[in-house]
């Protein structure tokens, strides 16, 4: 279980997180929604230790994430980055098997390649892409490769940062379905950041809306449409009028 309590983060004069409290139960899929610049990615990076919070506590199964063996902690995570973040100097299979080629999870090159090809197949890519470079693939294929890399070492927890940004609706649907299937079959805990409502409905067990640096609303996805919260209603229906200020 991941628990955040009173997490604050400020960049210069910009107070991004102003006391975030959130609990993500093991084996569930939490989707964080909220407008651009509300600190969704910062929140995710705080959990991973890529950004250090100014105040508050983040625990994983009761252990403070800032203490203990960092490698062992990170080995429990997989992450799909918004832009894919594939290493462009490496072949596709080397990207997917990155964790399996070095460190504590190191395997032989042949075994790592076999696992990479199997994970590529799982995300719908054939073995012919294994020896290509990221620049030779389309945006949708790069997202699939990034997904394959995130699951290559079979992590317990997977983070998805804007998994469908920049993709057409059909490819977005494919990625959403893949995420849902993979998370279910692996029994992993998932945390997804998105403002794509079709992703929310496809991926989420629970939803949390971030606004003004705090969790504005959280609950099961089945209750999202019925909530009377005007912020949630404005966001999920994409209305320009409402309590969330928008520049016009």
């Amino acid at each position: 279980m991941i628990e955040l309590s009173g997490v604050h983060k400020t960049f210069g004069s910009n107070k991004v997180l102003r006391g975030v409290d959130l609990t993500i139960a093991s084996g569930t899929s939490m989707v964080i929604i909220g407008g651009s610049g509300t600190g969704k990615s910062v929140l995710l990076k705080c959990i991973l230790g890529l950004v250090t919070p100014d105040a508050g506590q983040i625990t994983l199964d009761g252990q403070d994430v800032t203490r203990g063996d960092r490698d062992a902690f990170l080995a429990r995570f997989g992450m799909l980055f918004q832009g894919g973040a594939l290493f462009d100097s490496m072949r596709i299979w080397e990207n997917v098997a990155f964790r399996l080629l070095r460190g504590t999870l190191k395997r032989s090159k042949t075994e790592a390649r076999e696992i990479a090809i199997e994970k590529l197949r799982r995300v719908g890519l054939g073995p012919h892409v294994a020896d290509l470079y990221p620049a030779e693939l389309s945006g949708g294929m790069q997202k699939r490769v990034s997904l394959a890399r995130a699951i290559a070492a079979e992590p317990e927890i997977i983070f998805f940062d804007e998994p469908t940004t920049g993709l057409d609706p059909i490819m977005s649907g494919v990625i959403n379905d893949l995420i849902r299937e993979i998370v279910t079959e692996m029994g992993a805990t998932a945390m997804t950041i998105t403002h794509d409502m079709s992703s929310v409905r496809a991926i989420a067990d629970n939803v949390a809306m971030l606004h003004g640096g705090k969790v504005r609303w959280t609950g099961p996805v089945s209750e999202m449409d019925a909530t009377p919260d005007p912020y949630v209603q404005q966001f999920i229906h994409g209305r320009a009028e409402g309590p969330i200020e928008s520049l016009r």
Partner: protein, 259 residues
Amino acid sequence: MSLLSPVAALGRVTLGLLAHLGRVAIFAAQVVSHIFRPPWYPREFFHALMQIGWFSLPVVGLTALFTGGALALQIYAGGARFSAEAVVPAIVAIGMVRELGPVLGGLMVAARVASSIAAEIGTMKVTEQIDALVTLSTNPLKYLAVPRVVAATLAVPVLVGVGDAIGIMGGWLVGVNRLHFNSAAYLKNTMDFLEVWDVSSGLIKGAAFGFLVALMGCYHGMHSGRGAQGVGAATKAAVVSASVLIFAANYLLTELFFS
């Protein structure tokens, strides 16, 4: 405007500069400490060695060749004013191995390598590849900076050595073909005047310059701002700071070795 405003502005600039120097020093100490601690990444090291050493050879060689030739012409023209044309081989050799070989080689490597390291690492930063390395349990400093810094520290002295030889050859070519020196006498003069310390001091300088070049490339790449403008600024800062540090280190090492 207060009378103290200029003083306050000067103080701010000075404090900013000192803070920047402190950050560079901490970064350098971290890189050096990681050199001696596993895990090591031999594949990245050999890749960096090829990129920095082998592929810099043409530019360093051509720079040395033309510099050696021009040096021979200048020394001959200057020496003729007091009938000292015979010193051309000795001065070309000493000038190349002690000063021009390491400094010009270092500068050419700074232009070619510091810029490419800063642009590569800066692009990795803005496309979240460095964050991805962290989530894949890989220390970016160890994986990206250490192999490049070690490779440059080892490769640049070799480049300087090769550059020294090519520069002396450039002087010999001009001396024999344009200034009508006897070929054997030119080479004998060169060998007679060169001492081991002349060459080895230049190679030590080369190692120091290689370290500084790669360090500046990695530092500015890892602290790159966002977007294309951020990467461009990081690249420019890497080349400028590496070049200035080469000149400063050259003076300090020359003081240390020869005064």
